[in-house]
C-alpha cells in the first residue's frame, strides 16, 4: 500500500454507501454490521492496488447516490437491490464483488453465524466431535456391495460386436 497512515482513504459517506451496498448485495438476516464493515474496509484497503481501482471505485461509489436519486445509504434492502441490479456489470461493482465474496465469507464471525467450525486439527479433528452425528437418517453401509447384482460395465447394445459407437 502506498498509504502512510491509518486514515480512511474514502469519505465517511462513501464508506457508508459501500457498507449499504454490501448488505444489499449479500443480504443475510443473521449478520450484524461487523462483517460488512470489515469487508468494506478490506475493499477500501485495496484501493491503491492500482490507479484504475481507485478511479473506478471512487467514481462508482459516488454514482450510487445519483443512481438512487438521493441517499443510497438510506434505501431499504429491496430498493437498494433494484439499484444494484442496474449496475451489476459496471467495473466498480465487479471489483467490489470480487473482493467481497472472498472477504465476507472468510470472516470468522460469518463462519460461526453460518454454522461452520473451521480448523479442528488442534482439537483432535472431528472424530470425537460429531463427524458422524447426523441422526435423522439410518446408518448406511460403508463396505462395497457384495450382493447378487453385478455392475454391467458395458451394456449389451454397446458391446464391440454390435456397435459402431454413438452417432452424435
Amino acid at each position: 500500500m502506498a498509504d502512510t497512515g491509518e486514515e480512511p482513504t474514502v469519505s465517511d459517506t462513501a464508506r457508508a454507501a459501500l457498507i449499504r451496498l454490501l448488505r444489499a448485495a449479500y443480504p443475510h438476516a443473521t449478520f450484524p454490521d461487523g462483517p460488512y464493515e470489515r469487508t468494506a474496509d478490506e475493499i477500501i484497503g485495496q484501493l491503491d492496488e492500482s490507479l484504475w481501482h481507485r478511479l473506478t471505485l471512487t467514481q462508482g461509489l459516488e454514482s450510487l447516490d445519483a443512481a438512487a436519486g438521493g441517499d443510497f445509504a438510506a434505501l431499504d434492502d429491496e430498493t437498494a437491490l433494484k439499484v444494484l441490479r442496474k449496475m451489476e456489470h459496471a467495473e466498480f461493482f465487479t471489483f467490489v464483488r470480487g473482493v467481497a465474496v472472498v472477504s465476507l465469507y472468510n470472516d470468522h464471525e460469518v463462519w460461526e453465524l453460518l454454522g461452520y467450525e473451521g480448523a479442528s486439527y488442534d482439537q483432535g479433528g472431528y472424530i470425537d466431535r460429531g463427524f458422524d452425528d447426523l441422526d435423522w437418517l439410518p446408518n448406511p453401509r460403508v463396505e462395497e456391495y457384495d450382493g447378487p447384482e453385478r455392475l454391467v460395465e458395458v451394456s449389451p447394445e454397446d458391446e464391440l460386436s454390435t456397435t459402431g459407437g454413438t452417432s452424435r
Binding site: 437491490l81 448406511p140 452424435r168
Partner: protein, 531 residues
C-alpha cells in the same frame, strides 16, 4: 555458488555433470518414479518448481492454504468454457510444492474399467472427438494397480478397512440406496482409516484439499519423496523451474536446463529425463524445448503435444435439508457411487461417471458455488450451509484436438517465459453427461428429503489429462506404451499427460500405476542397478 551448493538441495548432492535420471516434478508421477528408481539403486535428480512444505506447514484454512500451495504463476484460460470467464487466470487448481497435486488430492482411487482403454473401438466415431484406443489395456496395468493401491493404502483394498460414514456420506449413501444404486461405499479412498505404512489413521479433521496435517492421506510428499531421499540416491531440488529439455546430436535427451529460486540457470546432465509437471506444465516444457531437430516443440512430430487436453466432465450438486448435515466434518471424499460408471449409450452419451462426496467451507463455497452470483438467491445458498450436503460429478470427457495447451506469446511468467494458455470447450457428449448426472443427483437428494438443490458448474480443473498422449503409432500421439517419446529416446512423460483418454475414474491411482510400470521399464533399459 558452486555446483553442489544449491542451498536448496535435499538428500544427496549430485553433480550437474553426472548423467542421471532427471525427473521434472515430484507429484503422483514424478515422486513415484523417483522412489521406484532410487529404490533400485538408480540415482535421480528431482526438479520441483515449488517449495518443500511439511505437514506442519499446511494451513487448515481454505484461502490461506490456496495462497500457500496453489500453482498461481501466470496462466490464461480461453475458449467457451465458463472457467475462462469466471477464473480467467486459473484454468486449473493444482499444487506447486514437493508432492505436487498429491498434496491436495481428495483421495478417491477407482481403477479404470477395461472398456475405457478402448474408447475409440467402443464409442466409435464421435463427431469432434479425437478418440484413440490406448496401446495398453487393463490386464497390462492390473499388477501395477495392485502395487499402487498398496503404496497409497487404498481403503477397501488388500485388507485395508473402510472409512467410517461421515455426515455427508450418510445423506449420500441413503439417497443412493433409495434411488436403487448398489455400488456405493466409503471408498476406495487413499487415506488411512487406521494406522498403516508408518502413518496414523484419520482424525476426520475435514481438511484435505489443503494438505493433511495428520498425514493419514497418502501423498508423495509423505511417502515416496522421503523414502527416495532415504536411499541416499536422490537429489531433490525444490524451487527449481525447468526451462528446457535438451538432446544430443543423435536426438537423445541429454539434459534439463532449469532456474533455481534466485533465477540462476543451471544445466543438469541426464541419461534419461522424466517429465512430470502435470498436463499443463509438461506440454509447456516440451513446447519451450523446440530445437532445430524439433522445430514445433520437442517430441511433437505428431503435432499432438498440448492437444487433447481433458479436464473430466465435472459439476457439483449442493442439496439443502431441514435438518443439520455439517458436511465439512470428516473426510471430504470418502464416498463413491459407481453405478453410473459404465458404458450405456441409451443414457444419451458415451462413457460413464462417478458421484463422490464433496464438501467446501463457506469461503470456497461462496467463491465456487455459482461464480459471479450475488443477491438473495446467492446468500440463500450460504445461509443453508449447515444443512447442506454436497457431491461431485466426475466422468469421462471427450478428447478434442482444439482443446489444448499452447504458449501464450503475449504473457510471460515471473521468469520471462511464455505463460501457458489453456483453451477448452465442452463436447456435446460432456454436456449430455453432466445434465444426466445433475438430474440423477437431484433424484438422489430428493429421495432423502432435500428441499432444493443447486447445480454448481465445473471448478478450475483438478484433473488435467491427455496433453502428451500415449499411442501405438507415432503419428497419433506423443509417447509410446511405456511413456517414452516416440521422437526422442530417453525422454519420458510420467504424469497424467500420457492418458490417451481420461476414463471416469479420478486419475491419481492410474498415474501412480503407470509410473511404477514406467520406472520398472526404465530400470531395465538402464541395465539394472544404474551408475
Amino acid at each position: 555458488m558452486t555446483e553442489t551448493q544449491h542451498g536448496r538441495t535435499q538428500g544427496r548432492a549430485i553433480d550437474h555433470d553426472d548423467e542421471v535420471v532427471v525427473i521434472v516434478g515430484s507429484g503422483a508421477g514424478g515422486g513415484t518414479v523417483a522412489y521406484e528408481l532410487t529404490a533400485r539403486g538408480i540415482p535421480c535428480v528431482v526438479l520441483e518448481a515449488g517449495p518443500f512444505l511439511r505437514p506442519e506447514d499446511y494451513e487448515n484454512d481454505e484461502w490461506a492454504a490456496f495462497n500457500q500451495m496453489a500453482w498461481l504463476d501466470n496462466r490464461t484460460a480461453s475458449g467457451p468454457f465458463r472457467v475462462a470467464r469466471d477464473f480467467a487466470n486459473l484454468p486449473a487448481w493444482v499444487v506447486k510444492a514437493v508432492g505436487g497435486t498429491t498434496t491436495h488430492w481428495a483421495g478417491a482411487t477407482p481403477r479404470f474399467r477395461d472398456y475405457e482403454f478402448k474408447a475409440r473401438s467402443h464409442y466409435g466415431r464421435v463427431d469432434g472427438a479425437n478418440l484413440l484406443d490406448w496401446p495398453i489395456d487393463l490386464a497390462d496395468l492390473a499388477p501395477y494397480y495392485d502395487r499402487a493401491e498398496k503404496a497409497i493404502g487404498s481403503s477397501h483394498r488388500h485388507g485395508r478397512p473402510p472409512m467410517p460414514a461421515n455426515n455427508n456420506y450418510k445423506v449420500f449413501a441413503n439417497g443412493a440406496e433409495k434411488v436403487g444404486y448398489r455400488f456405493y461405499a466409503t471408498g476406495p479412498y487413499g487415506t488411512n482409516a487406521e494406522p498403516y505404512d508408518g502413518r496414523p489413521g484419520s482424525i476426520q479433521d475435514g481438511f484435505n484439499f489443503q494438505g493433511d496435517k495428520q498425514t493419514s492421506k497418502w501423498s508423495t510428499a509423505v511417502r515416496e519423496i522421503p523414502r527416495a531421499l532415504e536411499t541416499g540416491l536422490c537429489d531433490l531440488r525444490p524451487e527449481s523451474q525447468a526451462v528446457q529439455v535438451t538432446h544430443d546430436a543423435t536426438g537423445r535427451a541429454d539434459a534439463v536446463v532449469y532456474l533455481d529460486k534466485d533465477g540462476n540457470l543451471h544445466r543438469q546432465a541426464a541419461k534419461a529425463v522424466c517429465v512430470a509437471g502435470n498436463s499443463i506444465e509438461s506440454p509447456r516444457l516440451l513446447l519451450m524445448s523446440a530445437s532445430s531437430l524439433h522445430p514445433d516443440g520437442l517430441a511433437n512430430s505428431s503435432g499432438q503435444v498440448g492437444r487433447n487436453y481433458m479436464r473430466h466432465t465435472t459439476g457439483s450438486v449442493y442439496a439443502r435439508f431441514d435438518e443439520p448435515v455439517r458436511m465439512y466434518r470428516g473426510e471430504t471424499m470418502a464416498g463413491i457411487i459407481a453405478d453410473e460408471a459404465r458404458l450405456d449409450t441409451s443414457r444419451g452419451f458415451a462413457g460413464g461417471y462417478y458421484f463422490e462426496t464433496l464438501s467446501l467451507g463457506p469461503a470456497f463455497l461462496a467463491a465456487f458455488v455459482e461464480p459471479g452470483s450475488w443477491g438473495p438467491e446467492f446468500t440463500g445458498l450460504l445461509d443453508a450451509y449447515a444443512n447442506t450436503a454436497g457431491l461431485w460429478i466426475v466422468g469421462e470427457d471427450m478428447p478434442q484436438e482444439d482443446n489444448r495447451v499452447t504458449l501464450n506469446a503475449g504473457l510471460l511468467d515471473q521468469w520471462g517465459l511464455p505463460a501457458p494458455d489453456v483453451h477448452f470447450a465442452d463436447h456435446p457428449n460432456d454436456i449430455a453427461m453432466r445434465e444426466h448426472a445433475y438430474s440423477r443427483a437431484d433424484l438422489l437428494y430428493e429421495a432423502v428429503g432435500s428441499t432444493g438443490t443447486h447445480h454448481t458448474p465445473p471448478y478450475p480443473a483438478t484433473h488435467n489429462l491427455g496433453t502428451c498422449r500415449m499411442s501405438e503409432r507415432p503419428e497419433d500421439g506423443v509417447v509410446d506404451r511405456w511413456g517414452e517419446a516416440h521422437d526422442v529416446p530417453g525422454l519420458y512423460v510420467s504424469d497424467g499427460s500420457v492418458m490417451t483418454t481420461g476414463a471416469a475414474a479420478n486419475p491419481t491411482l492410474t498415474i501412480v500405476a503407470l509410473a511404477i510400470r514406467q520406472a520398472e521399464h526404465i530400470a531395465e533399459q538402464l541395465g539394472g542397478s544404474g551408475s
